[in-house]
Amino acid sequence: MTRPFSIAIHGGAGTIERSLMTPELEASYRKALAQSVMAGHAVLEQGGSSVDAAVAAVTVMEDSELFNAGKGSVLTHDETVEMDASVMDGRNLEAGAVTLIRHIKNPIQLARDVMQKSPHAMLAGEGAESFAFKECGYEYVEQDYFFTDRRYNELKTMKKTGGVALSEARYPDEKKHG
């Protein structure tokens, strides 16, 4: 008898304006969410670990510019991206986290490597990226890869208002938090 396996994902929460969600945009989100959860499900179905399943699902969303992670991440005040990620393995309470990442395509994969290939639980900024390049063979990714016009426009709006919470709802989820 096969033991149960299961997966769930999220792509962020907040004020998502239904009136601004066009059928085309909603279809894009639904397609990306389905791709993500099915990527994780496939890992589990084939007998893979829950860690690898969760990382596979998150990787799909990092590669989609619809979500605030990886490609399509929001911009800082200095018009850069700074990304954070973490993984925790319930089997042994091991954990890996990275913060202030700027040149790694998939921070979630680096978080898993911090957990599995370093003696540490969290690495930050230049040190984390040095670990990625020198110890794990990651490719250096230019900031341009992560940029989207949508996020640049959001940043310009926020600079005018001087805040950090999204307040102009030209996009259905511009008030989405994190």
Partner: protein, 133 residues
């Protein structure tokens, strides 16, 4: 922010969370995502949690760890623990957001205190179930 929680065939739980953070952030701001127990937690026989929302409040309420603690030490169900935390101190302090969680038996819970959360799971037939609002 994006995240995933999973239970594999060996009964192992895991959580993964990733984010670009907050638009217009400065000074090396770090939110809850990389904070174990804040925006991410997993423990076998207990629960796996990934959070999204106002990072500073998710940290101050140690949301993921609180849910796990209520289940482990208070015998709360996954639904009860997630609901009480997301609609408890987190909300009363002005926090908006949500969590996804999965328990040791594979029960999935989505809990949010705001109008929407992009989310999905897979049903018994292996089909994706997607929701936004």
């Amino acid at each position: 922010t994006v995240g995933a929680v999973a239970l594999d065939k060996e009964g192992n739980l895991a959580a993964a969370t990733s984010t670009g953070g907050l638009t217009n952030k400065r000074w090396g701001r770090v939110g809850d995502t990389p904070i174990i127990g804040g925006g991410n937690y997993a423990r076998n026989g207990n629960v796996a949690v990934s959070a999204t929302g106002m990072g500073e409040l998710l940290m101050r309420c140690t949301v993921a760890g609180d849910i796990a603690g209520r289940m482990q030490y208070g015998n709360a169900s996954i639904d009860q623990a997630c609901r009480d935390v997301i609609h408890g101190d987190f909300l009363s302090l002005g926090g908006e957001g949500g969590v996804i969680a999965i328990d040791a038996d594979g029960r999935v819970n989505f809990e949010l205190n705001c109008p929407g959360m992009y989310r999905a799971t897979v049903n018994e037939k292996g089909e994706a179930l997607v929701a936004i609002f």
